[in-house]
């Protein structure tokens, strides 16, 4: 991992602070009571479920900690976290089962 340049970091902080507020304010502030086009709402509905796994998938398949080699503890932990989340709808339960799987297997495989 490389260290982050402070100027870059501050640009990102300010940009995200402004950008995030605009995203939150745009409807509740500017649009007020006017209705929104259904196609827009339909796309917005799927942003989180598309972009979160897109960010994670490469990190699971090619983990940085192992030099990009897929490994059993990490792949298993990812699978367990996802499946437990799907079945129980409980984020905390999913995090703890995933973490337990990761640590358990890392310990067993020494």
């Amino acid at each position: 991992m490389n260290s982050i340049d402070p100027t870059t970091m501050w640009i990102v902080i300010v940009g995200m602070a402004v950008g995030s507020f605009v995203l939150r304010f745009v409807f509740i502030g500017f649009v007020g009571d006017r209705p929104l086009p259904p196609w827009l709402l339909r796309h917005l509905r799927y942003t989180a479920v598309a972009i979160l796994p897109a960010l994670i998938a490469p990190l699971v398949v090619w983990p940085a900690a192992t030099g990009g080699q897929p490994d059993l503890p990490r792949t298993s932990a990812a699978t367990v976290a996802l499946v437990v989340g799907l079945l129980t709808k409980n984020v905390i339960a999913a995090i703890f089962s995933g973490a337990a799987t990761l640590y358990g297997l890392l310990y067993l495989m020494g």
Binding site: S3, I4, T8, M9, V12, I13, V14, G15, M16, G19, S20, L23, R24, F25, V26, F27, I28, G29, V31, G32, D33, W39, L41, R42, H43, L44, R45, Y46, T47, A48, V49, A50, I51, L52, P53, A54, L55, I56, A57, P58, L59, V60, P63, A64, A65, R74, A77, A78, A81, L82, V83, G85, L86, V91, I92, A94, I95, G98, A99, L102
Partner: protein, 238 residues
């Protein structure tokens, strides 16, 4: 008295929001730890967490910055992760749009997964609530979460550098995000969106500047929306 009833709705919101501290505590701590490990100082970490106030987007920015992604792409990708708060803002607008502008501005800052989730359930359940009562409930729902989020980020940032490699914190982010993803996959279109995004993300890792993330996110989003239209059409025909 309007004040008294608003007050009771504030505390109802507070109670409904309380279980989510179980997410805010580990998530905030993790952000503090990872930010410090990435080389951010306390001022940067705390400014970041207090002004942006969106865990998933903050983690995304951090990850991409460490991969030396160009600044504009970092911003675009992290804000894309945050597009869902625009959807929450849109969903809350019919209920809160009548409030004074200053209240709506403050409320906008606090639009997150938890306040949105509590509020829409409550506002649908009791459609007779007045706008001040809804505002009181909304602020109540975020009140137990926000202070703990800041505090835990701080504690994580202080602890950060003392955590050994054997804790495999590199994988805390994937596990946490996948855990969040599971409950979001409520319908077939949601699953299609996620699946398409994963496949495209894996195929586009060769694209420079981590642009693959934006490409995969957009295509996944369109796949979900398209799947929804097709399923609705089939239902209408049946």
């Amino acid at each position: 008295m309007a004040f008294t009833t608003s007050n009771s709705f504030y505390w109802k919101g507070f109670r409904d929001g309380s279980p989510f501290v179980l997410v805010a505590i580990p998530f905030g701590t993790l952000f503090g730890v990872l930010a410090t490990e990435a080389g951010l100082n306390i001022v940067q970490t705390m400014t970041f967490t207090a002004t942006v106030f969106a865990g998933a987007a903050q983690f995304t920015a951090l990850q991409l910055l460490q991969e030396e992604t160009p600044t504009l792409i970092v911003l675009a990708s992290a804000l894309a992760v945050n597009l869902r708060v625009a959807m929450y803002s849109a969903a809350l607008t019919p209920y809160l749009g009548g409030a004074p502008l200053w209240q709506r501005s403050v409320a906008a800052y606090f639009v997150v997964d938890q306040s949105y989730a509590c509020s829409t359930v409550q506002f649908e359940k009791e459609p007779d609530m007045t706008v001040p009562q809804r505002m009181a409930y909304f602020f109540g729902s975020i009140s137990p979460i926000a202070p703990l989020w800041y505090l835990c980020t701080y504690l994580g940032a202080v602890l950060g550098t003392q955590i050994p490699d054997s804790w495999a914190l590199d994988f805390a982010l994937p596990v946490t995000f996948l855990a969040m993803l599971g409950p979001m996959l409520r319908t077939l279109p949601h699953m299609i969106a996620a699946l398409v995004a994963i496949v495209v993300a894996l195929l586009t890792t060769v694209v420079p500047y981590n642009l693959g993330l934006l490409i995969a996110g957009c295509i996944g989003m369109m796949a979900g929306a398209q799947a929804e239209v097709m399923l609705d059409r089939r239902k209408a025909q049946a």
